[in-house]
Symmetry: C2
Subunit: 198 residues, 2 copies
């Protein structure tokens, strides 16, 4: 029905996470009808990002510069290093604005099932960063999954000879979490890690 | 956190229908991580559409050519003309592949509330197309809303002096239903059972 160019655009959009064929069609229609306010700005933004897209050779973040804005920021505390599985996790932590240090993106997690071994992740370069010195604390911010925790334990062992404090995110009830709705694993973690009431 | 270019891209995407800030961030992350398979194809598709985007001067469809692919297709039955409110409705009917004729997009519907008068829609050019001759049937495929039906009645009156059969979609449409949201089966039934305007 639509021209090949419009079909191709619809297909490209429908492959984005959160988009299906139907929402992609609606978005394309919106873009076609709102050229000045929707299509042109999106095209300009995509072009700008595409021209400058880079993976940070220090931390693995994706940004429009290398080093990335975080690694290049002199106000970041270089003594704290937060290790995450994926760029998405880095972004989630950045949105919280709670971590003042820098990051290291592993590019995944160890997984026997998926055949992901230590050399498939950026663990060697993490160890090299720590070996350079200047880092006081390494925060292992892996997901609270079996594979995430396996990865955290593996990294903790790899860096135990360095004079750094190795910490991990607390496990327990999410804020607003109701006991009745939580899975058993979360409940068990929260119970095991119970603390004295202040 | 992210660079200005990435922030701008996130904002452009978050303004698309069906997208919010959260899903836009996920989509941007996907684009950044999958340059070859996601970002580059989307950029190329947007560029191609942007360079050739046109509103069909015959029917009002948006496409990458003028006349649009439908108006230019010699296999379409020029004796049947389907009048719709919006381009989205045209696309919905095209997806059903049930209407062999051509279209006319009004660009909206008559509305006392929103101050939309006949001269704000493409009704004059519709009448002109019918006056040229060659059209046997005009299918009024307005939405089954009060304003849609008001618009249909107005058009029926405007063209009653021409030797054309004027029909409308059967009222198997749910009350308040908009074409763009209907499943294909309902659309097909409504089209098959279309009736002369009383
Ligand atoms: Zn970096
Ligand atoms: Zn056309």
């Amino acid at each position: 029905m639509a021209s090949p160019e419009i079909e191709t655009l619809t297909q490209s959009l429908s492959r984005l996470p959160g988009f299906g064929p139907r929402s992609a069609r609606r978005a394309v229609l919106h873009l076609l009808k709102k050229r000045e306010t929707a299509l042109d700005p999106l095209l300009a933004a995509l072009t700008a990002v595409s021209q400058r897209l880079a993976t940070c050779s220090t931390c693995g973040n994706v940004d429009t510069s290398d080093p990335c804005a975080i690694c290049a920021d002199p106000r970041r505390d270089t003594r704290q290093l937060c290790v995450v599985e994926e760029v998405a996790d880095l972004w989630a932590l950045e949105r919280s604005r709670l971590f003042p240090g820098r990051f290291h993106v592993l590019g995944g997690k160890l997984s026997a099932l998926d055949g992901v071994r230590p050399e498939d992740l950026t663990i060697d370069s993490l160890v090299a960063r720590i070996a350079q010195g200047g880092v006081d604390e390494v925060v292992l911010a892996m997901n609270a999954t079996l594979e995430g925790q396996t990865t955290a334990h593996y990294i903790a062992e790899r860096i135990e000879t360095y004079p750094v404090r190795v910490t991990q995110l607390a496990h327990g009830l999410p804020v607003g979490g109701e006991l009745d709705y939580l899975d058993e694993g979360t409940l068990a973690q929260a119970l095991r890690a119970r603390r004295p009431v202040a």
